[in-house]
């Protein structure tokens, strides 16, 4: 069976664009703190999800709904409503991270298929077995810290599906275990579904160029005429031990396109493209290219040819294969 391509749908129009471009599945979230891309202008109302699922199903694609933040103490109603609305809309699966949300879904929505979000950071056979045995989780979105060899070994040791990120933004920190953003701004992925939120961002011009700041902390500086990048906390330049560097991660994005065949061989069920904050034009182009690459690999064509297909996407921004090639070791 062909490897499944799971594509981002930040908005209803991005959902349609991804489905039309050949996505096997799309993932999206509700317009509130229940999903980890809780940014203004993004996401779905319950009605929009109903319509999105109808459109996707009519085109043979699945819809996975990310309800992947940690419910606020004493205020779980939004998460309960999100689960109910996902089921009502006919979602093919929900992507969850919080033990409380998993427990509620397993108890009250036994027919909903459960996927474990990368935010749960389950990287060992023991942890994965816990989620599978306790809540009936069927698929794990793997933390982006494993090499392809380790993924192959992991797949041999577990009996649920795995999904691996292959393209887009890359967190150098283990997702779901990071409070850097809230240390600076008070808001974080786990607390509020956002990282380095725009309302705390400032671009300040001075004689040396532009400083990008997050809640007053300088994240990077750019010379006059240089394009100032968005101050995502872990992609900034800092000074440590007398050295100035991109200490945590260079401003790069993940591209593991050259590893599609290797990931399939390692037993991965689905490939995930990051980018719910991206526009429909970008999403359509990336999805179309990856779909062609997946089909080329299915047809037994060489990696060189696949690489040529993907060459267009590699232009521009700098890219990395992240942890997959053990470059982080």
């Amino acid at each position: 069976m062909s490897i499944e391509l799971v594509c981002p749908a930040g908005t209803p129009s991005a959902l349609r664009a991804a489905v039309e471009a050949g996505a096997h599945s799309v993932y999206c979230g509700f317009r509130d703190e229940t999903n980890a891309r809780n940014f203004p202008g993004l996401n779905f109302s319950p009605d929009e999800l109903v319509e999105g699922v109808r459109f996707a199903h009519a085109h043979g694609a699945k819809v996975l709904v990310a309800i992947n933040t940690f419910a606020k103490a004493g205020a779980m109603d939004a998460w309960k409503a999100a689960l109910a609305n996902a089921e009502t809309a006919g979602a093919d699966a929900v992507i969850l991270a919080d033990l409380a949300v998993l427990d509620h879904a397993a108890t009250h929505h036994p027919n909903l298929r459960l996927h474990l979000s990368v935010q749960a950071a389950a990287a060992t056979p023991e942890a994965i077995a816990f989620y599978a045995d306790t809540f009936g989780v069927k698929r794990i979105v793997m933390p982006r810290v494993l090499s392809v060899e380790e993924i192959a070994k992991l797949n041999a040791a577990i009996n649920v599906e795995t999904e691996a990120f292959v393209f887009g933004g890359l967190c150098p920190m283990t997702e779901g275990r990071c409070s850097l953003s809230s240390y600076a701004t008070g808001k974080s992925p786990n607390l509020t579904g956002v990282c380095s939120p725009p309302e705390h961002v400032a671009y300040t011009e001075d004689k040396d160029g532009t400083a990008t700041r997050l809640a007053g902390f300088t994240i990077d500086r750019f010379g006059a005429g240089e394009q100032a990048g968005y101050p995502t906390l872990c992609k900034g330049r800092f000074v440590a031990g007398g050295k100035t560097s991109y200490l945590f991660e260079d401003p790069v994005s993940l591209n593991a396109a050259s590893l599609i065949a290797a990931l399939a061989k390692a037993g991965v069920t689905a490939l995930k493209i990051e980018g719910r904050q991206r526009g429909k034009g970008y999403v359509a182009e990336v999805v179309r290219t990856f779909r062609a690459a997946v089909e080329a690999i299915d047809a037994g064509r060489t990696e060189v040819e696949v690489g040529r297909l993907l060459a267009g996407l590699v232009e521009g921004g700098r890219q990395t294969s992240g942890a997959y090639k053990k470059a982080w070791r």
Partner: protein, 305 residues
């Protein structure tokens, strides 16, 4: 809230050492803790980096004995981000060693289920439902995540009066973990050949912004705050929150002094202002912060008044 909660003396825990301290340093440190520190519970174990474990593995049995002989309860804390087979085996070993284990990742859950265990601050317990899932499997104590505001703490603790809730009260805040080692990266080394350069920074290495603002600190694969958490509630305030224990995270500063300051605060022998002033007078690696507890950015400074 049950009457007994306020009656019981608030516990003080010395958390696991997060930094790469040598076996000699650890032996000296814990000997002094055993003899002089005013804490009733001490956590042992390497929780940050599996590569450091071989240097300390042989040390724990003698330290367990030393601390227990001094009347301290000993807890074995497991690795926060295990993934290779050796690290996974180490987690399971710790959980089967016979002491009370603290899990910092759900890898250990199938092993500890049904027996009493503690949950460390690296496990995501953001609400009463998550706490209930863990308590139903045997968790008797939970040290909540550092970014959780006390308004949430109160809700969680009220829902599970049978669980002993603990807050991270002193030390640089553990903010993030990574598959990548930042000490190695900074020194131009690969993680596999890291030369254990993190041992040069026994409180973590300060990370400043390009404009010279104090911001963060690195400790191998871990990122901490530059600021030092100093959550200084009275025993009454803690009782109202339903919190029965505070955690002090070891630094090179004299932890015996820190433990005595917190004990005096919790026993009502010192005020919050006196405690903060005394803490500030110590040779700490960073400024005093407590924003997370107030629902503010974690970097927000302690208000001394």
């Amino acid at each position: 809230m049950p009457e007994t909660t306020a009656m019981t003396k608030t516990g003080l825990t010395l958390g696991p050492v997060l930094f790469n301290w040598s076996a000699d340093r650890l032996r000296d440190f814990y000997a002094r803790i055993a003899d002089e520190a005013d804490v009733d519970r001490v956590h042992l174990g390497e929780v940050v980096c599996g590569k450091r474990q071989p240097f300390t593995d042989g040390l724990w049995p003698e330290l367990i004995e030393r601390l227990q002989a001094a009347g301290k309860q000993v807890v074995l804390s497991t690795l926060a981000l295990p993934y290779n087979p050796r690290e996974r085996a180490a987690v399971l070993d710790f959980c089967q060693a016979g002491e009370l284990p603290e899990i910092n990742d759900l890898t250990a859950l199938p092993t500890v289920a049904g027996k009493p265990f503690l949950v460390g601050p690296f496990v995501n317990v953001y609400n009463e439902g998550a706490a209930r899932v863990l308590a139903s499997r045997g968790a008797t104590g939970i040290c909540l995540p550092v970014e959780l505001p006390i308004t949430s703490v109160a809700v969680i603790a009220a829902a599970l009066p049978e669980v002993e809730f603990e807050l991270y009260a002193f030390g640089r805040l553990p903010l993030a973990l990574s598959g990548r080692c930042y000490h190695a990266r900074l020194h131009g080394l690969h993680k596999d050949g890291c030369q254990f350069v993190c041992d040069r920074d026994p409180d973590g290495l300060a990370v400043d912004t390009l404009d010279g603002q104090r911001f963060l600190a690195i400790n191998g694969i871990q990122t901490l705050s530059h600021g030092v958490e100093a959550f200084c509630p009275t025993a009454d305030e803690l009782g109202k929150l339903g919190v029965r224990r505070l955690r002090l995270s070891p630094h090179t500063v004299d932890m015996v002094v820190v433990s005595r300051l917190y004990r005096a605060l919790l026993d009502g022998r010192a005020s919050r202002a006196e405690t903060l002033a005394a803490l500030q007078a110590l040779d700490l690696p960073g400024e005093l912060v407590d924003g997370f507890t107030r629902g503010q950015p974690g970097s927000a400074r302690v208000e001394m008044a």
